[in-house]
Amino acid sequence: MVTIASLKKGQRGIIKEFSVDIVPLKLLEMGCLPGNEVALVQTAPFQDPMYLNVNGAHLAIRKETAAQIEIEIIKQ
């Protein structure tokens, strides 16, 4: 499945529906919701953690967490 972890630098995606059991509540509170846009700004060495722009706000998450959130990549 295509997840946030699959994003390349500068790529954007729209978050698809996901199970609330896997994603931490704090991420939801910070705007990581279905229908919102997520873009990869940068990653650390070894691609973990990933620095994202989620719905206008910047945050960093582990690749492991990013792999839980399915997205639909926006074709440039």
Partner: protein, 187 residues
């Protein structure tokens, strides 16, 4: 005779609540450019318009009323207990202009509690650099709340902030979530 009441500064971490607190009270609480600096309640006094003396309470930042740590719990315990001596008469939600969307989640939760609320949008000095414009009047109408656009770094906007308090003297508070519209049977 001066009346006094409680004002609580609530908001996401790192929005400048403590800087606003320092400006209002003249105190010098610790600030830093990373979240997690304020971990407990801090109190001070501020004189608002027309002789009103306010007890200002600076609180730790939280993203919502679902607490996930001890310092976020401080905020929730205060807001859910009407009998607490520090329970606010006015809740000031401090948000930052660059992350306004994210900050509004907490704002809507506070507003739905039914406490008279003022929305403060801080870091106005960043607007020019980031080419952000904001229609404050339209937002005030949409959110049904008084908004004060301030910059605590440049000490601007505090007069309108104090004036906004005065307009809350006899508030009628509508929760943003229109209960009767969505589900009259349940609510």
């Amino acid at each position: 005779m001066a009346k006094q009441f409680n004002v609580a500064l609530i908001g996401n971490p790192n929005t400048g609540k403590t800087s606003v607190f320092n400006r209002l009270t003249g105190l010098n609480q610790q600030v830093g450019n990373y979240p997690g600096i304020t971990v407990e309640k801090k109190q001070g006094i501020c004189k608002l318009d027309r002789g009103v003396k306010a007890h200002v309470l600076d609180l730790p930042g939280t993203y919502s009323l679902n607490a996930s740590s001890l310092d976020e719990n401080v905020v929730i315990e205060l807001l859910l207990n009407k009998n607490d001596k520090d329970f606010p008469d006015v809740a000031v939600v401090v948000t930052d202009i660059e992350n306004l969307k994210r900050n509004l989640l907490l704002f809507t939760q506070i507003k739905d509690l039914g406490i008279p609320t003022i929305l403060v949008i801080n870091m106005a000095d960043r607007m020019k650099r980031k080419a952000i414009t904001l229609d404050v009047a339209a937002l005030e109408l949409r959110l049904e709340t008084k908004i004060a656009l301030i910059s605590s770094r440049e000490n601007r906007g505090f007069e309108s902030f104090k004036k906004a308090h005065h307009q809350l003297q006899n508030p009628i508070c509508y929760a943003l979530f229109k209960r009767f519209k969505y589900c009259p049977r349940v609510f």
